[in-house]
């Protein structure tokens, strides 16, 4: 039977983590995501499933606790918001380098610096282009509803273990704080890890396992990088996810992700009401980016407006994808401001349709 609930995005993420069979959550309070750890502490997942929940002394400690648990083959997750995610970058780089699976959620708020506690999408570069040191990639999922928070939390663990790679759920202050009806999936049982790469305690007769991101010889470190790059090509081949709305006859294309895509969809409908043939492409994975979908639509449309709650970040990937085939412009509000459908429609008319 369907289990429907009215839930806040952050609480839904916490509930979905428990139901996804997570073994451990390590986190640190920060607005606007503190409900995740509050929900977990209140719901006593140690009694429900045996899941460990621990409030760490810092974001840095939390991500390193995730490293330790992930190294044991366990399903580990941490969540934070932008300034805290900055602190986790060291750990993320090590986790990516050591090829460990884990899930990290960023409930993005406006920056830079301490910034604001209002929603933003200004961590796109940080999530998609690296953030920490070295050549590595996170798989980045961008939910646009509380339902997708739940679905993507489950998916994130699957992808993390499929590729032994950290997966980022890039939410924001809107999705994290708003309440929506959500259908929850049934409890997935926790499993005892049995992976040859994990530190489970030495098996009799087998050589010891160690987890590291260190290679002192450059030749060896290059091999590690080549292996990582091969993995990322697989991710790009298999895991691109996106949605299109009314793109079949579109002459103009709007693109946006996450909460901003919902506002942009309204703007698209308003544009349609005015007689413009406008479609919307919503990337659900920011990495891997839906390059082919953009490339194909670029043949058809007269221009693309990338609507973002930042000063223009995803637009760079859109431009790379369409490779000059069509005009690409950006419209954004930032620093915690949210664009209105009117503003977006106005920008579309001025920058793309009339421009």
């Amino acid at each position: 039977m369907k289990e429907l609930r009215l839930m806040k995005g952050n609480e839904a993420l916490a509930e979905a983590a428990i139901r996804a069979g997570a073994d451990a959550y390590f986190g640190y309070p920060i607005t606007p995501q503190s409900e995740v750890i509050e929900y977990l502490m209140a719901n006593r997942p140690e009694d429900r499933t045996g899941m460990v929940v621990l409030q760490a002394e810092s974001e840095i400690a939390a991500i390193n606790m995730v490293y330790g648990a992930a190294g044991c083959g366990k399903k580990a997750i941490t969540t934070s918001s932008s300034p805290g995610i900055s602190l986790k970058q060291e750990g993320l780089s090590y986790i990516a380098g050591a090829e460990l699976p884990c899930v990290v959620a960023n409930v993005v708020r406006g920056g830079p610096g301490l910034g604001t506690i209002q929603p933003s999408q200004s961590d796109y570069f940080q999530s998609v282009k690296g953030g920490g040191h070295g050549d590595y990639k996170l798989i980045v999922l961008a939910p646009n509803s509380v339902q997708e928070i739940v679905d993507f939390t489950r998916l994130a663990f699957e992808l993390a273990f499929k590729y032994r790679n950290p997966v980022m759920i890039q939410s924001d202050g809107i999705i994290g704080q708003m309440m929506e009806k959500v259908e929850l999936f049934e409890q997935i049982p926790r499993v005892e890890p049995d992976y040859d790469w994990a530190t489970l305690g030495r098996k009799n007769g087998k050589p010891a396992t160690f987890i590291t991101s260190l290679q002192l010889q450059a030749e060896e470190q290059e091999k590690v990088n080549l292996r990582l790059q091969a993995k990322y090509r697989e991710v790009e081949k298999n895991e691109v996810r996106y949605e299109t709305y009314k793109c079949d006859d579109a002459e103009y294309l709007l693109t946006a992700f996450g909460s901003c895509a919902r506002i942009t969809r309204k703007a698209m409908e308003m544009a349609r009401d005015k007689g413009y043939k406008v479609g919307l492409l919503r990337p659900q994975t920011l990495y891997p980016f839906p390059v082919d979908a953009f490339n194909k639509l670029a043949e058809q449309v007269k221009g693309i407006l990338s609507v973002e709650m930042n000063a223009g970040q995803m637009i760079e990937d859109v431009k790379l994808a369409v490779n000059g085939k069509t005009k690409v412009e950006h419209f954004g509000r930032f620093g915690g401001m949210i664009p209105s459908p009117d503003e977006i429609l106005n920008a579309l008319e001025q920058k793309i349709i009339g421009g």
Partner: protein, 255 residues
Amino acid sequence: MSENLIKPENLVYKKTDAMTDRVLHYCPGCGHGTAHRILAEVIDEMGIQNETIGVAPVGCSVLAYYYFNVDMQEAAHGRAPAVATGIKRVFPEKYVFTYQGDGDLAAIGTAETLHACNRGENILIVFINNGIYGMTGGQMAPTTLAGMKSSTSPFGRDIKTMGSPLKMTELVAQLPGTYFVTRQAVHKPGNVRKTKRAIKKAMEYQKLNKGTCFVEIVSNCPSNWKMTPVQSNKWMEENMFPYYPLGDIKVPEEK
């Protein structure tokens, strides 16, 4: 071959299975080799090789996972106690230890160390204190003695600008979360035996779930102190031990 020549009843010393056959990269006269060896012997003697997970630091012992024949994770600089927390929380039945130097534990990892100890994580922390950054080439550590020269304190550590050497072991002993806290050395056979006893006790205490066990080993760094191994041990006794006195700092109350 030698095994065939030596009768079991005459065997007085043998390689411990908890160490691999890899050649240690440590400098001649360095205490790390001995510290590794006795920790490995304890694991061997307790028969917990398959139940132990270690965490290596960043510093001279960054490659410790090559030498211990147990499952290990390599942590980011200073983060070993957090990594060990993650391991122990998901595997509470396992024996978990960190092996860290003074830069790792007492500088960049101070917060992780204090909070792991304060939570009373049931892990063993082995802390090698030689008062200097070894791997990076002899820079000043938080534990560098007042007036002691290093490559970043070429005229000697000035405590007016750099503060006094940090006594982490006394600090963590103040925390209710620690169960057994001791400071030892490995430069003489008697000290080696004492240190091994301390490590064994600390490992055994881990099963009691009473809190963090913390074993500091005051050690030498001939290369970066720019001394011969013998000189460095003498210097350590004359200069390090007065500031870092050996002995138990916190022992469990006997019933």
